[in-house]
């Protein structure tokens, strides 16, 4: 009969981080905190997400303004996941707040299996400026109790990127699900079920 073995640190961290991810996905637009991966670097939180969810069964892609080679190498080393083209990737890691069209190009699932849509992980920059456009943005939908919606907790995401997500998710339940992480482990999710309105 199986008995209990002392769990390793990695097992415990992945479990805790998953619960944080699950809470974040269940409560779109709100701020949560992951345990980031040491040594802390620019993408420490994104790598913690990767380690929690990715392995050799999964294909991923990286996009962003800066060179994403090292980012992709770090994800592959941390997880054993294979690199895939943007339209085939299960996970798309975005370096910085600007997706450079990733939201529009990523897989959105099929009408029979909408869950085949990709997950985008935006690894935000610690120094990014807050976008004033956020005062006009309202999120509503499952996981959000307020009838009139809430403003997203992370204000450095360009309003244009949120618009791109809203466009990608216009044919709900087809769509993509987005996670935004800061280097310190802060996390916010915007699943496709969240309506993003510009007032």
């Amino acid at each position: 009969m199986p008995t209990r073995m002392p769990p390793s640190n990695r097992i415990i961290r992945d479990q805790r981080n998953f619960r944080v991810l699950l809470q974040a996905m269940s409560r779109p637009g709100r701020l949560f905190r992951l345990e980031a991966l040491q040594p802390f670097g620019a993408h420490a939180a994104a790598l913690a997400v990767a380690q929690c969810l990715l392995d050799h069964e999964v294909g991923f892609s990286t996009v962003g303004r800066e060179s994403t080679e090292s980012f992709a190498a770090a994800v592959a080393a941390a997880t054993g996941a294979r690199k895939a083209g943007l339209p085939e990737a299960d996970f798309v890691f975005v370096a910085g707040p600007d997706g450079h069209g990733a939201a529009g190009a990523a897989r959105r699932g099929s009408i029979d299996y909408p869950d085949a849509g990709a997950t985008l992980v935006y690894s935000l920059d610690a120094q990014a400026a807050r976008d004033p456009g956020h005062f006009r943005i309202r999120l509503s939908g499952p996981g959000i109790p307020e009838e009139d919606g809430i403003a997203p907790a992370m204000r450095e995401i360009p309003a244009a990127e949120l618009q791109a997500l809203q466009t990608a998710n216009a044919d709900y339940p087809l769509g993509i699900d987005a996670l935004f992480v800061r280097p310190n482990g802060e996390l916010m999710a915007l699943p496709r079920s969240t309506r993003i309105r510009l007032r």
């Binding site: 199986p2 769990p7 992945d14 479990q15 699950l22 996905m25 409560r27 869950d115 996981g143």
Partner: protein, 313 residues
């Protein structure tokens, strides 16, 4: 070749120890970590598309298919050392299947368990939603025998997939309509179909109609899993969940009018019917055993919101 690497090389003098049975296996919560990752990925997708059935590579568990392997896989993929677990079957913590599942999970994780609903962080359930209200930090995991609400009207998976894709639920509506025409009543007992987020028809698992209103805009996350049918689905907190009903023919819950629990005297909980002795005299007791005990301790004074939203005729 392997996913587990021992960082420090062992001197071969120890080779006998390294060949001993069970050496080097680190497993927490029974499932291997690859299985957990897959289930976790699917859970996140299920939450992102409320009420949509997400396929997953269901693993074989040491309990039989149909006995809660789906719920158990979610519990094991969710659980961590800080959790406090509650397991109920038919509302009761001491029902044989609940005992068996609780025993297994504690054996492979060592987590604390409770029967007290508010004290639990993770609740695995079969056929009931606890009577006491859930809180935002709690997760309720349902064991699901048949995840497809349309199975009642269509046996083919290909066809039901299409119906969900097109949000074409006309055959379900027709079924309810014909039921009313034939019987003057909707005859569905438990497993009453609900519409989630105004988009996906969902099987709430075989909970009584009494519990259906508790799904609507509940502050806790609810996860559903059918191990045999390999489907996960979810209700994020505060999600709109509506039972199918006609404007002039509303959804109705079970009625226990004029009856009370023989132990705690509650008139506001779902009751089990018990045949006492050979005389065949009927008596009633709370299905939620933890709620019943609490009510008794409080001298019958524990009050809470009726589950039916005042719809009982």
């Amino acid at each position: 070749m392997s996913t587990v690497v021992h960082p420090t090389p062992a001197p071969p003098a120890d080779w006998r120890a390294s060949c001993a049975p069970g050496h080097g296996r680190t497993s927490f919560a029974f499932l291997d970590e690859g299985a957990k990752r897959e289930i976790r990925r699917r859970m996140l997708k299920a939450v992102a598309i409320p009420g949509c059935q997400v396929p997953f590579g269901s693993r074989e568990m040491p309990i039989a298919r149909g006995w809660g392997t789906g719920g158990l896989q979610l519990t094991l993929a969710l659980i961590g050392p800080e959790d406090v677990l509650k397991v109920i079957d038919q509302g009761a913590d001491d029902s044989v299947n609940a005992v068996s599942i609780r025993r297994f999970v504690t054996r492979v994780t060592g987590v604390r368990t409770t029967t007290d609903t508010p004290a639990a962080t993770l609740i695995q359930t079969r056929h009931r939603v606890p009577e006491e209200p859930l809180r935002p930090h709690q997760i309720l995991v349902f064991q699901v025998p048949i995840p497809e609400p349309l199975r009642l009207v269509e046996p083919s998976e290909v066809e039901t997939r299409r119906m969900h894709a097109e949000a074409d639920y006309s055959r379900m509506w027709l079924y309810l309509y014909e039921d009313i025409v034939t019987y003057g009543e909707i005859t569905i007992g438990a497993r009453y179909p609900v519409l989630v987020n105004r988009r996906h028809l969902m099987d709430p698992s075989p909970i009584p109609r009494w519990d259906v209103a508790r799904l609507n805009r509940n502050p806790a996350l609810m996860l559903f899993c059918a191990g045999r049918e390999k489907r996960i689905y979810a209700l994020p907190p505060h999600t709109l969940v509506e039972p199918l009903e006609f404007e002039d023919f509303g959804f109705r819950t079970e009625s226990f009018a004029g009856r009370r629990c023989m132990h705690c005297g509650s008139t506001q909980s779902f009751l089990d019917e018990i045949i006492a002795e050979a005389a065949g005299r009927r008596r009633y007791a709370c299905s939620d055993s933890a709620f019943c005990q609490k009510t008794r301790k409080a001298g019958g004074g524990l009050t809470h919101r009726p589950a039916d939203g005042g719809r009982t005729p």
